[in-house]
Amino acid sequence: MIRYALGRLTSLIISLFVASLVIFAVIEVIPGDPAAFMLGVNARPDTIAALRAEMGLDQSLVTRYFDWVTGLLRGDFGQSWTYKTPVAELIADRIWVSLPLASYALILSTLIAFPAGIYAASRRGGPGDITIMGATQLGVAIPNFWFAMILVLIFAINLRWFSAGGFPGWSDPLLAIKSLTLPAIALALPQAAILARVMRSSLLDMLGEDFIRTARAKGLSRRQALWRHAVRNALIPVLTIIGLQFSFLLAGGIIIEQVFFLPGLGRLIFQSISARDLIVVESVVMLLVFTVIIVNFAVDLAYAVVDPRLRAKT
């Protein structure tokens, strides 16, 4: 188990390293002179020179990359050009919207998908299965941002149960959660549809396995065999999808934040793109990728908890 974890940790570190190289290359190498790019075509040479000095562009690429990465490790993300504040502060303010939103959506999606998928598999071919599968077919096809607009139209504008957008801050946690509820539903339902389909088909695969027949021969009913033997085995492919979905929820959150005017990372990133504040874009993208890689690492560890064969493997 420890060797397995160490192995995954090694590939985690390598992934992070390569990802940081890619992001650094795209932001700081491809534009030519990032300072000139950030200031636009009409900038005065002395302003550009000032920014170059501030960004450390007079140093070599290797030194700049090294400074950037060690800065990241120390929590120093550099200084935003437009906001004139440390990027770390900008992110710290906004991450408390984006991360809870993605987590909220993931929890919702799992809570909906697991029972739906298990129920559909256990009633294969029955009316319940057909209804759930039909609903997931729709869920997979709905663009989440449009779904969000419909939710606003119904629940905020017509019924007035929720506010149409904005975020009141965490001083009142209940109110904060309430204002994240519609966005989380909009994010979660399409993902739940996918997850329920994966859960169902994975379970149906497992129900065809020999060990289910063995369990039935022991005297377990169909349902007992499903719950005691099929579900845990079916979790292995489901976990993979959950891991992938987190990255989609995080990225999808960027879009949903637009619909609900939430002050999250998405807003920050779009404002930075239009202001050509590359340092902020670079840091936020790195943070997103970092989170995705960490979540995938956690999923790898979860595999090992579920599957003893992986624990033994090197």
Binding site: T10, F211, R213, A217, K218, L220, S221, H229, P308, R309
Partner: protein
Amino acid sequence: MSILRISDLSLRIGPVDILRDVNLSMNHGQIVAITGESGSGKSMTALSVMGLLPRGAVAEGQIMLDGVDILQTPEPDLCRMRGNAMGMVFQEPMTALNPVQTIGAQVAETILIHEDVTRAAAHARAAEMLERVGLKVAPSRYPHELSGGQRQRVVIAMAIALRPKLLIADEPTTALDVTTQARILDLLQELVREFDMGMLLITHDLAVVADVADQIVVMQKGRVVEAGPTQDLLANMQHPYTRALFEASSHQVQLPARSQTALLLMVDQVARDYPLPRKGLLGPRPNFRALHDISFQIGHGERVGLVGESGCGKSTLTRAILGLEDVQAGQIRLDDAPVFAGKRPNLAVRRKMQVVFQDPYSSFNPRHRVERLITEPFHLLDDPPIGLARDAAITKALQDVGLSRSDAGKYIHEFSGGQRQRIAIARALIIEPELIIFDEAVSALDVSVRAQVLDLIADLCRKRPLAYLFISHDLSVVRTVTDRVMVMQAGRIVEQGATEDVFTDPQHPYTQTLIAAVPQLPELSHATDPV
């Protein structure tokens, strides 16, 4: 008193008749064997008794177990009976266990589901039961850490944990090596006597049947064609099918005498290593030596057998001879040229060898027609036949193996298992190689089809001198189709010699164990027709 009585059992799945009027009965402490070829309905009979029929199956008749009619019992009551009044052991020990639960927990589950005992008590009894079935590993192990034979013992422990009245064993040893098979059969027989159970043994292996059964039921196409006490039935077979089945099981072929003696294949002190995973993160990669110091020769027109149990290195040796992988020591030469020529194969050597595999279902690309399948070896020729010459070659190859020209345009799924093996032989023969490797080529076939394919091989030997290496775990088959035999154990050849000599007077202890473990078919009461 009979514990199981099946009366007039008929079974349909959709429009297809699976079983017709099956009758049998069984007493305490008795072993009743149902035998027959694939599609005879023997496994479906077993599943009917368990009440585990596939969806859409409609059964009629009566299955009385200890006074209860299984076919009339509602599902919840059947659940209470399964594992309790009747237990079942399946064919595939590798997949029959839940990979994510410990073996102890899986055995304990049988107890927990039926009896109101504490978890700890159930686990203690499970451990006892695992010990009783001769398993010497801790109950906290997972299935993937166990060998096939060990896993089968776990499945048996699960099935008998509550001392059921009836144990159903569906091909319990088919997936196992012959020495493991002997031990599992011994265990099952012991348990039947000790627990005074009835055992319904489903097997295609007539030698096993003759060895262990008290009663034999022979099935063909869903019907019982003959049944009776083992000794009586063996001594006096009434039905022609029974007779044909037993004859095919001990089928002998007559090989023509060898006409040439020149050396064809030379394997000299060959060793083959596989790298194992690293010990530490950066430690050295240890090697696993799959072949040790292998030396033998095959002459032109010589028929050589290779026997050994799974994992002994047979497949590794096959790959090395075919020149698909390099060896770490020694050399393999065919007609005095090395068989392995680095990345780019030496076609001149390759065209002298072909291979026929075990599994007729995975041997062919399902998307190609037969003519394309069997002409694949033409790739080895510098100047492959085209047009009419190609057509003639296809026709001849198909006719040589008993198929017709019209089969060339078909896809492989249109053929039965036996026909597919014929096509595989046609593919191997089309470029007239010097050496053919038969890699368990008849192991997956029913006995009657196997007999036909063996006849075909003997026939081909008569048409032209053919040298082959016949690899099989089935000793009786090797005995009849080879001049010389080699016995392999753990990557070494422990014995080699003329086939009859090795079989009648084995020298190495392993060979002796192997031959002793093979269940023997009794001499039939009448002479086998000469071929």
